[in-house]
């Protein structure tokens, strides 16, 4: 039995903010639908109150609790041999991939990522089940990671299957 350490680095400090904002945005449509429903069919009142209460509770968890929880869980680290991450909140997963088998390294920045100056790095191997995603990194950290990875990996040396 071996002890296996956790990866060392947390994501950006702005990561919880990004996750909270994207969670908030995803609630716009359900809330709008509910308001429209109240305006069109105001009765019965108790049903509206119940649904609204449930919505508010779910929003509070999704926007207030989950991003902080995720921030506590998310960790990443890259050594000379492997990329290692810990992600998730309710379902948590560790994923490790050897850098010698890396095929591509992608950087992705969505509109919200750009707003908060963040970036996501995906380390792809030949297996669709083996991609290591490092999310919500500060842009300069992400650039450094990509440079480090491409440096070690010497991409294209073999077909890595």
């Amino acid at each position: 039995m071996i002890a296996f350490a956790e990866p060392a680095n947390p994501p950006s400090r702005r990561a919880p903010l990004l996750w909270a904002v994207s969670a908030l945005l995803s609630w716009i449509l359900p809330v709008a639908a509910q308001i429209w429903w109240v305006l069109v069919h105001p009765r019965p009142g108790w049903l509206h109150v119940t649904v609204a209460a449930v919505t508010v509770a779910l929003m509070a968890v999704h926007i207030g609790v989950v991003p902080l929880w995720r921030y506590r869980v998310h960790r990443w680290e890259i050594s000379d041999q492997a990329a290692f991450t810990r992600t998730g909140w309710l379902v948590q997963q560790h994923r490790i991939a050897p850098i010698s088998r890396v095929q591509t390294v992608d950087t992705y920045r969505g509109p919200l990522d750009r707003l908060f100056n963040l970036a996501n790095v995906t380390v792809m191997t030949a297996s669709s089940a083996g991609a290591v995603r490092i999310v919500a990194l500060d842009s300069d950290v992400a650039e450094h990671v990509v440079a480090q990875l491409t440096d070690i990996a010497a991409l294209g040396a073999s077909d890595a299957t």
């Binding site: 039995m1 002890a3 296996f4 956790e6 297996s127």
Partner: protein, 493 residues
């Protein structure tokens, strides 16, 4: 090396006879529509024109399809209005399949498909439909030149690993193929408008028989006849599909397998002949599948785990349902190490067993609650409780079997993992082929102290699960299988 062919070539001209037939079958609704239109307007030109266009389109397919095999790539250009060109680097070809259905066989033709590391389905797949059967050995050797297939495969060479045996037919009735065939026949009958007449005849004959012999006898004769028919069809189908199956291992100039990996060559089919050639250098393991009913008759089936071969479905089948002993012998031969399969698997402990029980008994528990609360309103009939007891017993047996199946073993360069009951599977994966590990824990798994370990490979299904390993053991398993995990900075930090 083979001869280098660098000019664009056409497929066999005999396809001029096949394409129109396929096209007519494909456009059948349109043709029937034109026939209706023609008889409604009294103008016989409509159906003739539709038929002419359809046949013309079919013929044109041949003229617009060309292929080329040169030193680096194989390329295929198809399509009349939508031109499509597919090019596959030859060093990425991992497997070659051939398939000849009845019409193709009559004309001496064979469809040849090329499998690469990439997932390609439907239109993006590289398929030569069709080339003369006589050219196939040469083409196969040329396409798999890197893995050194013997070119003279007119006379099959190599070591026979497995061959079909009549005893395999015992497992045929356990599949649903007979029922599916009856269903398909009924569907076709209804679509062609014959269904209603047949239904009336059958209903009439049934009532008459019931009058003569009594309802119970008539119904049981009907059910028995139906089952007998489906069993007969399933056995017949299995025989036509797999009768004459031969699996060979071929190496270049008969070199020993330790020096030259060679290829696996699988051939089966009495009517529709299919052949699969796998590059053994891409062999990453195999999956022994034991569906419950097949397992009850000591049977099993074997799928290959290879890069460039899809993990599920017929393209990965090495052996259809057959005696488990045959499967195990072949598996041991392929992984070249009897020792991997011999020792017992390491079981996953009490927590994993407990989780199998709580999962299996969830449905009985909920339904017991429903029945009990229904009892407050009005007593549910006795048969409801009897049914509940039967379901509970079945669930308990399922839990016992699932818990007993669960196990894994790492050693000698192989990861062996077994799980499941109704669809029990034993995955044997070469550790060298594992290119990533995931350790996943849901909230309940964290509380139970277990984790699901997922080995990522480029082969087969891409992900192979080891379910509910004790959490403190998960990384040890990964480290035992992959030196790059054991040597990483996180191990023993």
């Amino acid at each position: 090396m083979s001869r280098h062919v660098s000019e664009w070539q056409r497929l066999s001209p005999r396809m001029l006879a096949v394409h129109p037939v396929h096209e007519v079958v494909r456009q059948l609704p349109v043709l029937v529509g034109s026939l209706v239109l023609g008889s409604a307007t009294g103008n016989g030109a409509w159906p003739l024109a539709a038929l002419g266009v359809t046949v013309g389109v079919g013929l044109s397919r041949w003229f617009f399809t060309t292929y080329r095999i040169d030193d680096e790539n194989v390329a295929l250009r198809t399509g009349m209005l939508r031109r499509r060109s597919i090019s596959v680097p030859r060093n990425r070809i991992r497997s070659v399949q051939t398939d000849s259905r009845l019409l193709h066989r009559v004309l001496g033709l064979t469809v040849l498909k090329v499998g690469t590391g990439h997932e390609s389905r439907g239109r993006s797949a590289f398929a030569l439909d069709a080339v003369p059967a006589a050219q196939v050995p040469r083409l196969r050797a040329a396409l798999l030149a890197e893995s050194a297939v013997p070119e003279t495969t007119d006379r099959p060479t190599g070591r026979v690993l497995a061959a079909w045996h009549p005893s395999w037919l015992w497992y045929a009735p356990l599949s649903f193929s007979g029922l599916l065939m009856i269903g398909a026949a009924v569907g076709v009958a209804y679509q062609s408008g014959l269904g209603v007449t047949i239904q009336q005849r059958v209903a009439q004959a049934g009532t008459e028989a019931a009058h003569r012999t009594g309802v119970v006898v008539a119904v049981s004769v009907g059910v028995f006849g139906f089952l007998a028919l489906s069993v007969l069809l399933a056995v017949l189908w299995s025989w036509l599909t797999y009768g004459n199956l031969v699996l060979r291992r071929q190496t270049e100039r008969g070199l020993p397998e330790r020096l030259c990996h060679g290829v696996l060559h699988l051939r089966y089919g009495l009517v529709r002949v299919r052949e699969f050639t796998f590059d053994m250098r891409r062999f990453r393991g195999a999956t022994l599948r034991e569906p419950l009913l097949v397992r009850a008759l000591r049977g099993a089936r074997l799928d290959a785990v290879m890069t460039g071969v899809h993990g599920e479905g017929e393209s990965s089948v090495l052996l259809p349902p057959c005696p488990a002993r045959t499967c195990r012998t072949l598996l041991a031969d392929l992984i070249d190490d009897m020792a991997v399969l011999k020792p017992p698997l390491r079981s996953h402990g009490a927590a994993a067993t407990r989780r199998r029980w709580t999962r299996a008994l969830a449905v009985p528990a909920v339904s017991a609650g429903v029945l009990a609360s229904a009892n407050l309103v009005a007593a549910p009939p006795v048969w409801a409780w009897a049914g509940w007891a039967a379901v509970t017993a079945a669930c308990a047996l399922l839990a016992v079997d699932r818990a007993r199946s669960l196990g894994h073993r790492v050693g000698d360069g192989w990861l062996v993992a077994r799980a499941g009951s109704l669809e029990r599977r034993l995955d044997c994966i070469a550790c060298a082929g594992i290119i990533g590990w995931t350790v996943r824990q849901s909230l309940l798994q964290r509380r139970a102290g277990v984790a699901t370990l997922i080995a990522a490979t480029a082969a087969g299904r891409k992900r192979y699960h080891v379910i509910d390993v004790p959490a403190d053991l998960a990384w040890s398993v990964a480290a035992a299988a992959s030196p790059w995990v054991a040597d990483s900075v996180w191990a023993g930090r």
